[in-house]
Point group: C2
Chain length 129, copies 2
DNA sequence: GTCGATGTACGAAACATTTCGTTGACAATA
DNA sequence: TATTGTCAACGAAATGTTTCGTACATCGAC
């Protein structure tokens, strides 16, 4: 039983996770200040969410000092995979191809990025199956 | 002003939309029966959701007969684009490349599908930019 | 030690989503 | 016409998420 299933983060929870992934372990105030570049949010709002996320197992909390320090308990890639897989099932009928085609055609990717994707395609075709 | 912005469908709403996209215009009971292949749901639950979706503009309702007939007001591809773009911003920091790489590496796509994707890459590289 | 700033905890309000019980209209049929 | 089944409408309960007011503890400056 290598890994427990963590709940899918809500929209607000994901916003907090993104800050922690970028900054690393942080206090509530640090997350708040990062947030408030963009939108106004109250201190206790962020605190409460991070407390709930800790209960859910999404964050770890170091409370040995008075000012607690939170860190993400889930890796960014893991969460991306989870959310993407979820969307794949719920909106794309499980068709990865459709999803990728939409992502490529409707969104901007630079020439270098396209080349990297092409390289990945090569690896996949050669590697497995 | 060619097109109004429709709200992002919730999880339950998306499930209903998928039935309608697949079946075409349907009654509440038809959607319900489609649903109940998989999970048990009450009639009034589905009815209520479809009423709300109609209010939100996600569905059209033909109520000239006693049994109303609902149809999706949003195209499947449009909604896919919307949800994918949303996820791209919220979880992938806007990097379409990262998203595509995750989708390709973690999920199954057949050889033919990979070829199609490769073709699309060609088209993109040739066509624009 | 007192005061003000900063921190956590707690509980509830505000809001959205999902679920369903009940009611009254209508229709088919016995 | 009386009964039974199907339907839409309505309202409310149950649940989950987000927001924040308040209370209380701790720390540092004075």
């Amino acid at each position: 039983m290598p890994k427990q299933i963590l709940p899918k983060p809500t929209e607000g929870e994901l916003a907090i996770l993104r800050v922690l992934w970028r900054r690393g372990a942080s206090t509530v105030r640090e997350v708040l200040e990062d947030f408030n570049q963009a939108q106004e949010t109250g201190y206790t709002t962020v605190l409460k969410m991070m407390q709930i996320m800790t209960e859910k197992g999404l964050l770890d909390r170091d409370d040995k000092d008075r000012t607690h320090v939170y860190s993400p308990r889930v890796a960014e890639e893991e969460t991306q995979r989870q959310l993407l897989g979820d969307l794949l099932d719920r909106a794309f009928n499980g068709s990865a191809k459709q999803l990728v085609m939409q992502a490529l055609s409707s969104k901007k990717a630079s020439r270098e990025e396209l080349a990297e994707i092409r390289q990945l395609l090569n690896d996949i075709e050669r590697g497995d199956k």
